[in-house]
């Protein structure tokens, strides 16, 4: 299977090369057969990459310990579930996995648009093939996952060598989220290749209008949704497995995943400016270019270890390839832009500071500043070494100082933006739209203040959460009321009908609501408390309303690990409440490899988070570290809403005339902020 796999990869490389070179020839000659054959070469590339990926999985499932990659990342007793995940647990495999996910997108695009957009697709095919060639070069010639173990015999010949068992999977990865988190994040990274390819293709082809934005809208939303899930699942994994009591530490790899998300989110908003008003064309094209560059940079930071490694750990030679590729993309994008920039002229200009346009503008400004801040903070050690010779890093205080105000400002715009009219907004409409939401914000701030959550940032955050949630509620309520009056349906059904008529708009509101919930959770972080104590059996410690008593300990054996478990009785307000079992797992395969299983008792109000931190080396007694983290659950809960909202936005909007043949009016008037008659808006959903 290893020979099959490496052969498939090599053939995929050849096909991709043909798709690129043949594609360029096809664009020049416009020969229909050439266009068709390069498209099919693109499809063949994808299928060959699938085959290679499946053959690597086969090596894992057949416990083939002649394969270097399988030896390093699996063992016989590893469960099936984690054998799937072992595919992307190392460098070579995760690069192949990148190619694999990219191929899913590429194949879908090539198949879906095979008979459409004839002007644009050859260009798209060429860009996609270019990206695939880069990754296939790595897969084939730099980091092949199909290397076999060998011994050099006395005669100088290389003999194959088979190990009895593998080293096993890194225990930190043996956790359910680790099976779904990387695929999500990588699907996000790879997914942004599609809007990038269309944007670059449209620029190269001088393809008229906003068509490329319409074509890529859904692809962008899919990539964004995966990216959001990936980030949240990663945060949850860090929370539940690393045992340090937090979910976000601003470390380089976390930041790497956040960067394209920030620009991607900015892009999702600013395209509306182009669709509606024909503005910000240059900006949009560069946002999507930047997002793609940041996806590659993210993969690079993760894979090369450039930031965390120089005075720390793992470094690899793969970095220079990525730097080269980033350079190539930048040069191609710049050239295309300079050559065809007259095609991106704006059709309108800003009329007023208090308008929908300006809210989008400030939204984009904040996302961009956030992105620059995170990027410069992450790469600070590299740049400071270049410029001053001293390697200096910045820590969480840097990121928190700048990102908390940005986050709050963005939350504010989340509430304000949708209520402002295009063009300019009158004072009356401001009063009408913002009175109740402001009151709701004040009420939520007062309530949380009374409960005891007193911190300037958190109170502001919760005030804004109340404000934004209420604006979203009002949007649904007003629209639903109009439909209810016309159709006689009850409000709940009307709200559903309303959402289905303009899924993009109302899906967007649902995503915003999810973000509100996430911000509520983030606000709780200001009130985390923790206690650590070396405990004998029968000892107790107090944490907020809880009392923890260490009752006893036991061991539990599984096929792949032995767990040492602390049995801790929890009293709440002096009353017996539950037992918690934080554990430490000692894994087979790698000696001394151990993992932590945190015991979490999670409620909407707070998480009781208990870690068995290890044994005190002097006394041998167990050390227990307990945290009380308020409101964390809201973050995961908000994540679910974000996904649901995106899914809603992906559903095509229902045609109103089909539902109400008698009332052909379009979207309900009250749901749309008052339009300024002097502003010309294009067709389409906002």
């Amino acid at each position: 299977m290893d020979v099959f796999g490496s052969f498939a990869l090599l053939l995929a490389f050849v096909c991709a090369l043909y798709a690129l070179i043949g594609g360029i020839a096809a664009i020049i000659t416009r020969h229909p057969l050439l266009i068709k054959s390069t498209r099919q070469a693109g499809m063949a590339t994808c299928i060959l990459i699938f085959l290679a990926t499946f053959s690597l999985e086969y090596l894992f499932f057949s416990d083939n310990f002649a394969s270097a990659y399988v030896v390093s990342h699996s063992n016989r007793d590893l469960s099936t579930f984690y054998k799937v995940a072992a595919l992307w647990s190392g460098q070579e495999g995760s690069l192949l996995f990148w190619s694999f996910l990219l191929s899913i997108y590429v194949l879908s695009v090539l198949v879906v648009y095979r008979n459409k957009n004839g002007e644009l697709m050859p260009y798209v095919g060429v860009v996609l093939a270019g990206v695939q060639i880069f990754f296939l070069t790595l897969n084939n010639f730099v980091a092949s996952p199909f290397k076999m173990l060998g011994n050099v015999s006395a005669s100088g010949a290389i003999e194959p060598f088979v190990r009895m068992d593998g080293n096993g999977l890194n225990p930190l990865l043996q956790y359910p989220e680790m099976v779904i988190h990387p695929p999500n994040l990588y699907s996000g990274y790879t997914g942004f290749t599609i809007p990038f390819a269309f944007a670059l293709a449209a620029l190269l082809a001088r393809y008229p209008g906003e068509k490329w934005i319409h074509l890529t809208r859904k692809w962008t939303m899919i990539a964004w949704c995966f990216q959001s899930c990936g980030i949240l699942l990663g945060a949850h994994w860090a929370y539940a497995v690393l045992g340090w009591g937090g979910y976000w530490g601003w470390d380089p790899v976390e930041n790497a995943s956040l960067l394209p998300w920030l620009t991607g989110t900015a892009f999702l908003h600013s395209v509306m400016m182009q669709e509606k008003r024909g503005m910000m064309k240059v900006w949009n094209v560069w946002l999507v270019f930047t997002t793609f560059l940041l996806c590659i940079l993210g993969t690079f930071l993760t894979r090369s270890g450039i930031v965390s490694s120089v005075h720390a750990f793992a470094q690899s030679s793969i970095g220079s390839w990525f730097v080269g590729f980033l350079g190539v993309i930048l040069v191609v994008c710049l050239t295309a832009y300079i050559k065809n920039r007259d095609y991106l002229k704006s059709e309108n200009r800003l009329d007023s500071v208090i308008s929908r346009e300006s809210s989008f503008l400030f939204n984009n400004l904040l996302f961009l500043v956030a992105c620059i801040a995170v990027l410069s903070g992450t790469l600070f050690p590299v740049f400071s070494e270049w410029f001053t010779g001293n390697r200096i890093s910045v820590g969480p205080p840097f990121f928190n100082k700048i990102m908390i105000p940005i986050g709050l400002a963005l939350l504010f715009l989340t509430g304000v933006g949708p209520l402002l009219a295009w063009g300019r907004t009158s004072k009356e409409s401001l009063k009408r739209n913002f009175g109740w939401p402001l009151l709701a914000g004040v009420v939520s701030a007062v309530i949380t203040f009374a409960i005891g959550y007193r911190n300037i940032f958190s109170t502001t955050c919760l005030f804004l959460c109340g404000f934004v949630a209420w604006t979203i509620f009002l949007e649904f309520y007003r629209g639903a009321k109009v439909i209810a009056a016309r159709s006689g349906m009850n409000l709940l059904f009307s709200a559903q009908e309303l959402a289905m008529r303009n899924t993009r708009r109302y899906g967007g509101y649902v995503v915003h609501f999810g973000m509100v919930l996430i911000f509520i959770g983030l606000a709780g972080a200001a009130f985390n408390i923790d206690v650590q104590k070396t405990m004998n059996f029968g000892d107790s410690m107090k944490l907020g309303p809880y009392t923890l008593i260490l009752q006893s300990a036991d061991t539990k054996a599984d096929k792949n690990y032995t767990a040492q478990r602390m049995i801790i009785e929890v009293l709440k307000d002096g009353k017996q409440s539950m037992l918690l079992y934080p554990e430490k797992r000692l894994f087979q395969g790698r000696d001394q490899a151990s993992g932590t299983m945190v015991a979490i008792y999670s409620t909407l109000r707070e998480d009781l988070y208990v870690v068995f931190a290890g044994q005190d080396n002097d006394t041998g007694l167990p050390v227990v570290h307990a945290f009380l983290n308020p409101l964390v659950k809201w973050i995961w809960f908000g994540g679910v809403w974000v996904v649901l909202g995106t899914l809603l936005a992906l559903v095509p909007s229902r045609k109103v005339s089909l539902v109400f043949a008698a009332t052909p009016e379009p979207a309900p008037a009250a749901a749309v902020p008052a339009l300024n008659p002097t502003v010309t808006l294009r067709e389409g959903h906002d």
Partner: protein, 145 residues
Amino acid sequence: MQTRAKFAVGITVIVASLSCLAWLGYSDSKTYYHTIAEYQALQGSARSHRMRLAGTVAPGSIRHAPGRVDFVLEEQGNTLPVSYVGSDPLPDTFVDKSQALVEGRPGDNGRFVAEHVQAKCASKYETAPGSDKPAAGSPTQQSSM
């Protein structure tokens, strides 16, 4: 005022105030990376910076004391006594001969006072990063963040 001017003012205010915050955050948290040899050559105010040093834990040097853990880091023949005073338990990977990364400030009598320690067992893992999380990827365990 012209609309354009209003926007210019708004944007300048936002960018300027965020830059200010960035500078404050930078001053709060900047950490210098040094080798042990460089560290020992530092003079004057450079010694008061927050810094991060790497080395190998000298075998048999780990001593637990109330409220702190003392050990010695070695790097290319240079040695540095360290006291870990952080509240978090040391990672499981922190043992004799493991590679450790310590973060903190120079203390009195030549000891380095570390608030954070990361460690990895020498030779237990391959050198390539594993997954897309640092703690998972490079087989680092973070004692605290």
